[in-house]
Symmetry: C2
Subunit: 297 residues, 2 copies
C-alpha cells in the first residue's frame, strides 16, 4: 500500500493506493502551504490521521511546494537532466514527532541563462507514460513547458501567465473596464494578437494597453476584454515557448485540470498546433512510480 | 496672462504666465482625479481660487486625465495625425457654477491594429520644440513613445511598463524575495536580458520567472532583484519600441521627471541607443502654445 501526498501552494491532495498499486481513495482540501498555518504536522494528521491509524506502517511519500523553503521539509533541487531514477534515489526522509516517517521528493532545477526551478511538476512528469521524446505543457499560475526524453526531464521553462493575468485584471487600470462577461471571439483575437509576437503593431508590453484603448474607442465590447487579455497572454506564452524551441516535431501533451487543458488546447489550436491530453491524476501516478522505484512499495 | 492646468491621475499642477508669456509661478498638489474626490470644481477653487481673484478674467486652459470619462469635463479624442493647430481648434469650453470659463484640451487617439489613446501627453508634445522628425519617449506608469513631425503627432505606442513593474513587485510571487536594496549591475543585466528579446532563453513571459529562480539558486543577490525586474521590463519596452519602428534614424528625446529620464537614458545607453533630454515643464509650455494658437492669449 502507499499513501501519496500532492501538497501545493493552495491545495492538499492525498491518494491511497492498495496492495495492488491501485488508487482506491482520494482526498482534497484547501490546505495548501499558504492556506493553512496551523503547523504542517498538525495539518498532516488532521487530513490523513485516520488512514495512518487504519493502515499501520503504510509508506508515505509527498511532493509539491511542501518541500520548498516555505514548506515543511525543504528538499534539494536536482539538476537537469533529471530522471525518474534520480528522483527515487534522492528522497528526503522525515520523522514526525509521533515517529511516523514521510519521504519527500526533491525539486528539479536548471542552470541555464534563464535559470529555472520546479517542485511538484517533476512528480507529474514521473506519472506521464514515457516515450522517446515529448513536450509536456502544465498550465497554471506558473505554467511549465517541459521537454522529456523517456522518463527524464531534459529542459523546461516557466511562464507566469496565470499570475500575470490575475494581477493585471485585479490591480491595474485594465481591470477598470472589466465585466464578468466572457467572449470566445475576444479570446481568439487575443490569442492571435499574442501569437503574432513582436511585429509592427508592437509586442506584449504595448498590446496589453490595447485592451484599455479598444473599449474606450468602441472597438471592443467590455464583455470581451477579460477573455481578450487572457488570450493575449496565452498566445504570447505559446509563441515564446515555440520560438524558444519547445514542441517542434512532437505533439505537445497538455496536463492539468480539465478546464485549463480545454483552454490551452483551444489556444494552441488557434495557433495551428495540434495537442493531446495527459492522463488524469498524474501526481498520484508519479508519486506511486517514484515510490516503487525507491523500493518503498 | 494665462492660467494653465496639468491635471492628471495623481497630481494637479498649475502654472501662472504673465503678460509676456513668461512662467512666473507654479503650484503642485496631490489632487489628481483619483486622489481628491471632493468634486472637481471645489478642488479647482481651493487650488487656484486666489489667483482667479487676483487676476480677473484671466484665460484658463487645462489638460490631462481631468478630460477623461473619469474626470471633470470629457473631451473627444482627435485622430492621428494631430497637429498643434488641431488641438487649438478643438478646445472644449466649460463654465463653472460661478461663471468662470475653462478650456479643456482634447485627447489624441490612433485607430491602428493596436489602437491607442493619450490625454496629457499631446500637450507635452505641443511644448516640445519642433523639428522635421522626432521620436519622444515619455516614461511613466504608462510610458509613451511618440513619433512627431514638426508639431504634429503622427504615431504613438503605450507601454504599461511602470504599472506592470508595480503589480509584479507588490502582488506576485516575485515580491516575496524582494528587499529594499538596489544594484546598478542587476539593472544592467535586466536591461540586457529584456533588450535581447525572444531568443533561445525565452521571452519576457519566461524571463520574469528567472527573477524568482536566480536568487533561489544562488545566482543573484536578493538586493539585486528589484532592479533586475525593472531593467528586464525596461529593456523589453525599448526592444519592442525599436523593433516596431520607433527611433530609427533619429535620436530619441526623453521627457519627464529628472529621475525617470536618468533611468531611461541609462537603459537606452545599455542598449546602445543615444538619447537627448527634453526641456523641463513641457506641459506648461504646451498649454501656453495651444492657448496662443487658439487666440486665448
Amino acid at each position: 500500500m502507499l499513501l501519496a501526498l500532492d501538497w501545493g501552494t493552495t491545495s492538499f491532495r492525498a491518494y491511497l493506493f492498495d496492495s495492488k498499486r491501485t488508487l482506491v481513495e482520494t482526498r482534497s482540501a484547501a490546505a495548501g502551504i499558504m492556506q493553512d498555518n496551523d503547523g504542517f504536522e498538525q495539518v498532516y494528521y488532521r487530513q490523513v490521521g485516520d488512514w495512518l491509524g487504519q493502515h499501520r506502517s503504510i509508506p508515505v511519500i509527498a511532493s509539491g511546494m511542501i518541500t520548498s523553503n516555505q514548506g515543511w521539509v525543504e528538499t534539494p533541487y536536482l539538476p537537469c537532466p533529471a530522471s525518474l531514477e534520480d528522483l527515487s534515489k534522492n528522497l528526503t526522509r522525515h520523522e514526525t514527532s509521533k515517529g511516523d516517517v514521510i519521504f519527500f521528493v526533491s525539486g528539479v532545477c536548471q542552470n541555464t541563462p534563464t535559470p529555472n526551478i520546479m517542485r511538484g511538476e517533476e512528480t507529474q512528469m514521473a506519472g506521464l507514460r514515457g516515450c522517446s521524446e515529448r513536450t509536456a505543457v502544465l498550465p497554471g499560475t506558473h505554467s511549465k513547458w517541459i521537454r522529456m526524453e523517456g522518463d527524464t526531464i531534459c529542459y523546461f521553462s516557466t511562464f507566469m501567465t496565470g499570475e500575470i493575468f490575475a494581477v493585471l485584471t485585479r490591480h491595474t487600470i485594465l481591470g477598470r473596464l472589466l465585466t464578468d462577461g466572457s467572449d470566445p471571439k475576444g479570446f481568439t483575437k487575443g490569442v492571435e494578437d499574442g501569437f503574432s509576437g513582436l511585429d509592427s503593431a508592437g509586442g506584449i508590453m504595448s498590446k496589453l494597453f490595447g485592451a484599455r484603448a479598444m473599449p474606450l474607442l468602441g472597438q471592443m465590447n467590455p464583455d470581451s476584454i477579460r477573455d481578450y487579455i487572457s488570450g493575449l497572454l496565452l498566445g504570447t506564452e505559446i509563441q515564446e515557448a515555440v520560438k524558444s524551441g519547445f514542441g517542434s516535431n512532437v505533439v505537445p501533451v497538455i496536463c492539468g485540470s480539465p478546464d485549463l487543458v480545454d483552454r490551452y488546447q483551444t489556444a494552441m489550436s488557434i495557433c495551428g498546433i495540434q495537442t493531446s491530453r495527459g492522463e488524469d491524476e498524474l501526481a498520484a501516478l508519479g508519486l506511486m512510480r517514484i515510490a516503487a522505484a525507491a523500493g518503498l512499495v
